[in-house]
Every structure is written in structure tokens, then in C-alpha cells.
């Protein structure tokens, strides 16, 4: 029975943590790939409405954003405001915004710019309609109503 007799101390060997960093690095790369760092600081609250028939926006570099919602600072009231780039804007600014977005893109890509409307769900349609009219005048016809995904067949 000497075969089963343990020889020496019975201490548990330490767990090798060398590969831990590899695992964490894998996590890190995963997050780096799937995320986008936000370039603008949002001045308005935007909770997009939910929808089921969602399409993904394909070319990120060809998307320009218009945010509409209530201001984050409560001192600015509750009226829905438009945000272009980093500041509040009015409906009249949209045409120059579209022109600036066009100018910053390559000549060949100018016709493929999509305007993504990130609008809060409690906004009234009046503002949105005004923005859409301006976009029509500015010639930015491709738009995308930004929405969150809702599971199909769920009734809210």
C-alpha cells in the first residue's frame, strides 16, 4: 500500500495567474471593437422610441446626427430643443449644418450621407416636421429615425 502514501507536504500548489491577463485583454479588445466613443456631449435628453422593424445604419462615417429633446439643464426649461454638434441650434441653422457636413465628406460620398434623427420619444411632432422640411430644402433626403429595439409581439 505504499503506492498511495503521500510523500512530503500536502500544500496546494498556487494557481497560475499568468494567463489571466490574456483573458482580460481579450475582453478589452472585444469592448474596443464593439464600442464607439461619443464625440459630442449631449445637451439634450434623448430616449428614442421603440420599434421592431429596425434597420442598421451601415456606414458610420457617412452619418450625421441631429438631436432633439428637452435640455439637460433644467434651468433652460422643458421646451424641446435642437442640438447640432455641440450646441443648441434653431431650425434655421439646419441648412448650414447640412452644407458643413457635406463639405467635410469626400466628393464621391456626398450623395450617400444619412441624417440620423435622434429624437426623444416625448417630443411633439411640430419640431420634427420643421426639421424635416429644412432637410428637404437642404437636399438631405436620406434620413433615419433612431429607435431602440423592441421585441416582436410584445404589447406595451
Amino acid at each position: 500500500m505504499a503506492r498511495f502514501k503521500k510523500s512530503g507536504s500536502r500544500s496546494v500548489p498556487g494557481i497560475n495567474t499568468g494567463s489571466m491577463s490574456d483573458i482580460v485583454f481579450m475582453f478589452l479588445f472585444f469592448f474596443m471593437v464593439i464600442t464607439t466613443i461619443r464625440e459630442v456631449t449631449l445637451e439634450v435628453k434623448v430616449i428614442p422610441p421603440q420599434a421592431t422593424e429596425i434597420q442598421k445604419l451601415e456606414k458610420k462615417s457617412l452619418v450625421s446626427f441631429i438631436y432633439i429633446g428637452q435640455p439637460r439643464k433644467t434651468s433652460l426649461g422643458t421646451e424641446s430643443r435642437i442640438q447640432l454638434n455641440n450646441q443648441f441650434a434653431t431650425v434655421a441653422d439646419i441648412q448650414s449644418f447640412v452644407a458643413a457636413e457635406r463639405a467635410s465628406r469626400d466628393e464621391s460620398e456626398k450623395n450617400f450621407i444619412t441624417t440620423s434623427l435622434k429624437v426623444d420619444q416625448n417630443t411633439r411632432m411640430g419640431v420634427v416636421s420643421d426639421v424635416k422640411q429644412e432637410l428637404r430644402k437642404a437636399g438631405a433626403f436620406k434620413i433615419n429615425y433612431s429607435t431602440r429595439k423592441k421585441a416582436k409581439n410584445s404589447n406595451i
Binding site: M20, V24, Q50, R136, K142
Partner: protein, 191 residues
């Protein structure tokens, strides 16, 4: 005899990468760029003649400022809208009250039965954006279902799974996104 190099302690490596991971977790937001894509019409030409559309070819969808729906003069629930739109766009029984049916020959598809139906969507300036998106979503769902049905029938796969551009273009031609938005009205007061 070669010198034995001491092993580098890699235990703290995990800490460093955890710090980096936390940094990226905080500064980034997961991609939410998705939504309903639409194409706006060009601005109206004042000299252009008014398009002549027959009464039966238009499905009038009105949304008022308290988010109620009126379709062809009847108040309905949002859940009925999809089926209503589907029935309107296909006109399965050749009903004289529903849009005109015509047989069109399209490349890659052959002869398809289509209708001249257009959905006219009109909302008040006081309608909530949430409701507007719900309505748009239901109408898109109706069109997507029709496209899927046609695609299944002709090609055996769903519309989104078609892998040739020619095929999806043909289906898009057979069932276009026929949603026309009227200029909004301001009945419900300012805002």
C-alpha cells in the same frame, strides 16, 4: 552553463489590463445606431401640376394631437393598423373600394400582381414622436411582411436573406414603400 534569467512577475499584468478595460467600459457606449430609414421627397415644385390620384388608391391615416388614429374616417387601434395596411396594399378580393390592381412585368420576377395603393400619413404638430414612430413602424411592418411573402413565394427565402441585389431590387419594385407624408397641420394648438 547558461545563466538562469529570473521570471518576470506577470501577476500585476491582469490589474493593468483590468484598469484599461474599466476605462473603455466607462468612456464608450454600445452602438445604438439603428432605426427606421426613410427617404424624404424633394421640396414641392410650385409650378408642378397636382398629381391626379384616385380616391380609392389612397389610404388616409391621420394622427391627432392626443395620439388617436383615424384611418379612412374610422377611429381604429394601433394594433389593427398593420392588417388594415396589408389588406389595402394587396386588395386580395379585387374590392372596388380598395386600390386598383394591375399586372406588372418586372425583370427577374415575371408578372406580379400589384396595386396602385398609396398610404397618406398626416399628423398634427402636437402628435407625440413616440406615436409617430409607432405608426411608421406598423406601416413598415406591413410592407416588410408583404415583401417577405412575395420573396418566399418566388425565391424561397425571406426578403432580408436574398443575396442578390437584382432580386431584392425586383421585390422593392413590386412592393415599394408607398408612404406619402402630407404637410403637417396645426389643429391642436401651438408646439
Amino acid at each position: 552553463m547558461s545563466k538562469k534569467t529570473p521570471e518576470i512577475n506577470s501577476g500585476s499584468m491582469a490589474d493593468i489590463s483590468f484598469l484599461l478595460l474599466c476605462f473603455f467600459l466607462m468612456v464608450s457606449n454600445i452602438d445604438t445606431d439603428q432605426g427606421l430609414t426613410r427617404k424624404l421627397p424633394p421640396p414641392p415644385d410650385p409650378n408642378a401640376p397636382k398629381p391626379d390620384v384616385k380616391e380609392r388608391n389612397v389610404l388616409k391615416v391621420l394622427v391627432n394631437k392626443s395620439d388617436r388614429l383615424l384611418v379612412q374616417g374610422q377611429p381604429i387601434d394601433i394594433r389593427q393598423l398593420k392588417d388594415k395596411a396589408k389588406e389595402f396594399l394587396t386588395n386580395p378580393q379585387n374590392n372596388p373600394d380598395l386600390p386598383e390592381v394591375e399586372e406588372v412585368t418586372i425583370n427577374n420576377l415575371g408578372t406580379v400582381r400589384t396595386t396602385k395603393g398609396i398610404i397618406s400619413l398626416k399628423n398634427d404638430r402636437g402628435t407625440s414622436y413616440d406615436m409617430y414612430i409607432q405608426v411608421q413602424n406598423e406601416l413598415t411592418a406591413a410592407i416588410n411582411e408583404l415583401r417577405n411573402e412575395l420573396s418566399q413565394q418566388r425565391f424561397g427565402v425571406k426578403f432580408a436573406d436574398l443575396n442578390s441585389d437584382a432580386q431584392s431590387e425586383a421585390i422593392q419594385k413590386a412592393i415599394p414603400i408607398a408612404i406619402s407624408e402630407a404637410e403637417p397641420e396645426n389643429i391642436g394648438g401651438k408646439k
